[in-house]
């Protein structure tokens, strides 16, 4: 009961104190978007848009047993997907050889890794981001994603395998 009430109170606090919500979660939303967009600067801008949406919508959210952060990540994922689609129509993808120029092997490996990570399904990316980049325990990851701890661990396993398969196909030797 106490845990449920704590989560509920945290949800309500996040709803009513926008500035605290912003300061607490803006950095991690930037990091999440940087992986999706491949650019830290673009992520800074798009994260601001995520919070503009939050400013309008969060006060009206209904308690469904999940933290406001879960909603922020969902909005960030949707906005990132829109942005990636928009770019696909206008900008050559990073993997385009014409856009790469000369590269050392290490740079090529790095680029392949970045692309492989960006190409992961959204839920795979999110679980890896929350657990590894943000260092959240799986219990919190599960609460944000609305899944069980076991299900999140399985997602992480699939994400790792998917990355390895892609990188091997790309000829990256360090995996």
């Amino acid at each position: 009961v106490d845990e449920g009430l704590d989560a509920y109170h945290a949800f309500r606090r996040d709803q009513t104190d926008f500035e605290a919500l912003f300061r607490t979660h803006y950095p991690e939303i930037v990091r999440y978007l940087a992986a999706r967009l491949g650019s830290r600067d673009d992520a800074l801008d798009l994260a601001s848009d995520v919070f503009l949406e939050a400013w309008r919508r969060v006060p009206g959210l209904q308690w469904r047993g999940r933290p406001v952060l879960a909603w922020l990540y969902r909005v960030a994922a949707n906005m990132a997907a829109d942005e990636v689609r928009r770019r696909a129509r206008t900008v050559p993808p990073l993997g385009d050889p014409a856009a790469r120029g000369d590269e050392t092997d290490a740079t090529a490996d790095r680029l392949a890794l970045t692309q492989a990570y960006a190409a992961l399904p959204a839920d795979h990316q999110l679980v890896v981001h929350l657990r590894l980049v943000e260092g959240r325990p799986f219990e919190e990851v599960a609460a944000i994603m609305g899944r069980s701890v076991g299900a999140c661990q399985m997602l992480m396993l699939r994400a790792a395998r998917s990355l390895r398969t892609t990188l091997r196909a790309e000829g990256v030797r360090s995996v």
């Binding site: 009961v1 106490d2 009430l5 509920y8 109170h9 309500r12 606090r13 709803q15 009513t16 104190d17 926008f18 500035e19 912003f22 300061r23 803006y26 950095p27 930037v30 990091r31 940087a34 992986a35 830290r40 800074l44 994260a47 601001s48 919070f51 503009l52 400013w55 309008r56 919508r57 006060p59 009206g60 209904q62 308690w63 469904r64 790095r110 890794l113 970045t114 492989a116 990570y117 890896v128 981001h129 657990r131 590894l132 980049v133 799986f138 076991g150 661990q153 399985m154 992480m156 396993l157 994400a159 790792a160 395998r161 990355l163 390895r164 990188l167 360090s174 995996v175």
Partner: protein, 406 residues
């Protein structure tokens, strides 16, 4: 190794434990992929971004909001008017009424006919077309959240105003100052709409136009020709256009929505006041020793070592019985809510059912007080804890009995 075992092993590998080759290899891949993403976002970057996003929020206190709230909320609730106005007669009207007879989430923009009256406003929330409930948030593009209003099934209303961080509680909207008057009284409005049969319809473009008249207010509603749901509403008073409402989203909700859909969200530190129909605020006028009656609900002659001390409390517009058990206080009251109970309601709420089926609202306040409130028809019972941060009230409310019970 099963998949689940390997998944758990991978987690241990990421934590640095010694595990098998497969899990270690996969952990290395994940570390390599995420290592460049663990960068810092500096405080300066956070503050700069916040300054770009937040100025509208901070500006809100400088706006004159009262007309905006009054008109904006009233127009928002004109949607509720549509939902509950089901006069007999025209097929279009009947179809529109059937289509909307459910709970909907809506998002609408209200634009004044006279731009100087109030800025364009966004209204979003839930409307229950069957039971006449509504829960709306009013925003201004330039100033952020302005007000939140909850219209309950019994016609009572709560309104929070951002500018003063004050929550007003009233038995009907007509009691609220500068408010929406009769527009917010669902039963009265329903009766008027049905009795007057003042709803007419005609074809308009690909859909229909419905006209609803209540007193000197008329709503002209454009209804979708396929789904028979409203797309826009004009609000006219004395034949003059006051505001137009464009409905951007109208999403039907499941048959059962969470109970807190109809609950005012917490507003930390809000000053909570009850307004009587005549506009007077509720105060304690007199306290004198009292007695319980067989119908009084209490925790017995003593509770947790504290003997019951009964008081008859005279309030503005009503009476209440207060039973003190040291840090626990039980109130029996009717429509007028004792100020002590109201002041425990300014932070959050949790809802749970009693074994007997009644719903308990457990409220939390910024000062640490808690109150569990349960309604038994015309009588309401509140258990208030004067101690901080424990859940005494949750236990106590389940131990209430009638004083006349054996």
């Amino acid at each position: 190794v099963s998949e689940r075992v390997l998944a758990a092993e991978l987690d241990r590998a990421l934590a640095g434990d010694d595990v098998g080759d497969e899990a270690r290899g996969l952990a290395d891949v994940l570390r390599a992929a995420t290592e460049p993403l663990a960068f810092a976002v500096t405080d300066d970057e956070v503050e700069a971004a916040l300054a770009r996003v937040a100025p509208p929020v901070r500006r809100r206190v400088r706006l004159g909001l009262r007309p905006l709230v009054a008109v904006g909320v009233a127009v928002a609730v004109s949607l509720a008017v549509l939902l509950i106005a089901r006069g007999p007669g025209l097929d279009v009207q009947a179809k529109a009424a059937r289509a909307i007879a459910a709970t909907y989430f809506f998002d609408a923009t209200v634009t004044p006919a006279n731009p100087r009256l109030f800025p364009a406003t966004e209204i979003t929330g839930y409307v229950d077309g069957i039971r006449g409930r509504a829960h709306v948030h009013v925003y201004s593009v330039s100033s952020g959240t302005i007000a939140e209003t909850v219209l309950h099934e019994n016609g009572s209303v709560e309104r929070w105003l951002a500018r003063t961080n004050t929550t007003l509680v009233a038995s009907s909207c007509s009691a609220l100052p500068g408010g929406c008057g009769e527009m917010f009284d669902p039963l009265g409005l329903y009766a008027r709409a049905v009795d007057a049969a003042g709803v007419s319809s005609r074809r308009s473009g690909g859909g229909y136009e419905l006209r609803l008249r209540v007193g000197n207010v008329e709503q002209i509603v454009q209804v979708d020709g396929t789904r028979f749901l409203p797309r826009s509403i004009q609000w006219r008073e004395n034949r003059r256009l006051v505001a137009s409402m464009r409905i951007a989203r109208l999403e039907r909700q499941p048959a059962v929505v969470p109970p807190d859909t109809w609950t005012m969200q917490p507003h930390g530190g809000a000053h909570v006041l009850q307004v009587l129909p005549g506009g007077a605020l509720v105060h304690v006028l007199r306290v004198r020793p009292g007695k319980v009656t067989p119908a009084t609900r209490w925790l017995g002659r003593s509770y947790r070592g504290n003997r019951a001390r009964v008081a008859d409390v005279t309030l503005t517009g009503g009476h209440a019985t207060r039973i003190d058990y040291g840090p626990i206080v039980v109130w029996n009251y009717g429509r007028v809510i004792p100020p002590q109970v109201l002041q425990a309601q300014n932070l959050g709420v949790k809802v749970f059912p009693l074994r007997s089926g009644e719903l308990v609202h457990v409220y939390f306040s910024l000062g640490g007080r808690e109150a569990a409130v349960v309604s038994y028809g015309a009588t309401n019972i509140a258990v208030v804890s004067l101690r901080r941060g424990n859940l005494d009230v949750v236990e106590a409310v389940q131990e209430l009995t009638r004083a006349g019970s054996p």
